[in-house]
């Protein structure tokens, strides 16, 4: 799963190509326009590299942080079928992080440096994972709707310009499509189940709706910045377009299950566009900057895991020579 990469709107667009060789830049842009993929050893503008590292890294972080709210339900999953499926799903997510960190490493930043930036709070991850999964139904809603949002985002990005990232995303999307089925099957089971189950899935959906609406990020300001990133095929679709696509695909399915969404203004208008109450973007900013209900806990858990595993990583770094227990 994944949330949209958070691009700082204060980055200066004019600075993005400053100092680049105009001829090389022109060739680079022509390649992308022709639909060619950029590979690790190819020339690329500094800013292209920087934006991609940031984006792929955030994506990788989202996968491992995303494993936490769902992972807590592995040990509680009801029945063999659900337990086995959830384990496999969360394992996939960790595997995605592995793939993504490898893709980002081709751009020159090591996995250790990325993880370090995650646990020191320097780099971001998807905002949705700063909310708690209170019940089993929350884990089901995440598996269905957050993964659904992620697929929309990733299918778009898989058509981007950077070869290693696209290839990683192709594989990730295939796995995510199973997660989506798994999540949907779970939500259907709860929504058509006993009164207690229906009540828990409705409560979870109501809780998760605001973070889901935040998922694709605020409306894009049409700036030179966005324009360049789209021309370079780093950013493939606007946040609003992806949000529309999500609403179009999933709101009818949610309503079909007899579930309600906590937004009276949500409807499809005559032009086929979804109207909704604007999400609280102040809340979004507050959470992304560390003020959400679980930010501190998520990072603390991750930091603790890194700390506890340090001796193992150090042991792996030893050469083939063996430690011999001293005789005296």
């Amino acid at each position: 799963m994944y949330g949209n990469a958070y691009i700082d709107p204060n980055d200066k667009a004019t600075a993005m190509t400053a100092g680049e060789d105009p001829k090389k830049l022109e060739e680079f842009e022509a390649r992308i326009a022709r639909g060619e993929k950029i590979e690790p050893m190819d020339w690329m503008p500094k800013e292209y590299r920087k934006q991609l590292v940031r984006m792929i890294e955030q994506h990788g972080h989202s996968e491992i942080i995303g494993a936490l709210p769902e992972g807590t339900w592995i040990t509680r999953a009801p029945g063999f079928r659900r337990k086995l499926a959830l384990m496999a799903k969360v394992q996939d997510e960790v595997g995605h992080a592995q793939l993504l960190y490898s893709a980002a490493e081709t751009l020159g930043k090591s996995r250790e440096a990325m993880i370090n930036d995650l646990i020191t709070g320097k780099s971001k991850y998807s905002n949705v994972f700063n909310y708690p999964a209170f019940t089993w139904a929350d884990a089901c809603i995440i598996a269905w709707l957050i993964d659904a949002g992620a697929i929309i985002n990733q299918v778009a990005n898989a058509k981007g310009s950077y070869g290693p990232y696209c290839r990683a995303l192709d594989r990730i999307c295939t796995e995510e499509s199973f997660h989506l089925k798994y999540g949907h099957d779970n939500v259907v089971t709860l929504a058509t189940g006993t009164p207690k189950q229906r009540e828990m899935v409705q409560a979870a959906l109501t809780r998760w709706w605001p973070p889901i609406m935040h998922f694709f990020g605020p409306s894009d300001k049409i700036s030179n910045h966005t324009e360049i990133l789209m021309r370079w095929k780093v950013k493939m679709a606007t946040n609003d377009d992806m949000r529309q696509q999500f609403l179009n695909m999933y709101v009818p399915k949610i309503w079909d299950l007899g579930l309600t969404l906590p937004d009276e203004n949500l409807k499809k208008n005559a032009e086929g566009k979804w109207e909704y109450t604007e999400p609280d973007w102040e809340e979004f900013k507050r959470v992304i900057n560390g003020g959400g209900p679980c930010n501190a806990e998520r990072l603390a858990v991750r930091r603790n895991a890194e700390e506890r595993g340090r001796w193992v990583r150090e042991a792996l770094n030893t050469t083939e020579s063996k430690y011999i227990v001293p005789l005296a």
Binding site: W73, G79, W136, G193, T194, W311
Partner: protein, 254 residues
């Protein structure tokens, strides 16, 4: 099949299935928290295999008249479980989890290899499939056990301490059953004593290679009791957590 034989087979199946379910559950607790991403993924793979193997054995029990696998796994209380105490102990640090995994999987591999030739064909069939999966678990355990046992001073000391802590519990895996003679006599299972001997022979070369010392045999005190429902205080919270959602509405399909 007479009643005594059926009861003996059930007892054997229960202890094996419960071992697998509980260690699978413990392995799954590493998800998202492993020392490196690759180990997170490995422990999750092993957890999935073990829980799947447990399920296959509960299905055999179901065919012998016990309740559905989900009911058996998610509705019993801790004192109705027959797993060895080794598998219910908390994960602790990676050293303990790894040592336990090494000791447990060698024993389980030998158990399933022996059972692949069991005269009780339904179990033999399951065992032939399972032993293929366990080969990789044992390979994983051996690799890490040897590496961390001998990498540097800290890793060695940690592994030795974890080994000492796990040892008597590991011996407890071979708690003799009241049905040993019957199982051996009917060619169903070779018995715990034989299994323990083979296990010691198999693990010793890796222990030597890792530079780890086995506690001297006069200090061995196998921790028995798990097979008859006596457990540490760690099992009850595990079982409660595992069955929390299932029991929230036992009438529901999940």
């Amino acid at each position: 099949m007479n009643q005594n034989t059926t009861d003996a087979i059930k007892e054997l199946l229960y202890k094996m299935a419960d071992d697998l379910l509980i260690i699978g559950h413990r392995n799954s607790e590493w998800t998202g928290l492993g020392p490196i991403l690759e180990e997170d993924i490995s422990f999750s793979s092993m957890a999935q295999d073990k829980i799947g193997q447990a399920q296959a054995l509960y299905v055999l029990l179901n065919e012998l008249g016990e309740q559905e696998p989900d009911t058996v796994a998610f509705m019993r209380n801790a004192n109705q479980f027959h797993n060895s105490q080794l598998v219910e102990l908390p994960n602790g640090e990676y050293d303990f989890s790894l040592v336990r995994h090494f000791l447990f999987d060698h024993a389980d591999q030998l158990r399933f290899e022996a059972l692949a030739n069991s005269s009780y064909e339904p179990l033999a069939k399951v065992a032939r499939k399972v032993k293929g999966e366990l080969k990789y678990h044992v390979f994983h355990g051996n690799t890490w056990f040897v590496k961390l046992g001998s990498a540097n001073e800290e890793s060695h000391n940690r592994m030795q301490a974890a080994f000492n802590e796990a040892w008597n519990y590991a011996l407890g895996m071979f708690e003799p059953s009241k049905n040993e003679d019957l199982l051996i006599g009917e060619g169903i299972f070779e018995g715990e004593e034989t299994l323990q001997e083979k296990w010691l022979a198999n693990i010793t070369p890796y222990i030597i290679k890792a530079g780890i010392s086995i506690p001297s045999s006069e200090t061995w005190k196998p921790v028995y009791g798990g097979r008859v429902g006596n457990h540490t205080n760690h099992l009850s919270p595990l079982v409660e957590e595992m069955s929390e959602v299932f029991r929230y509405d036992p009438t529901a399909e999940w």
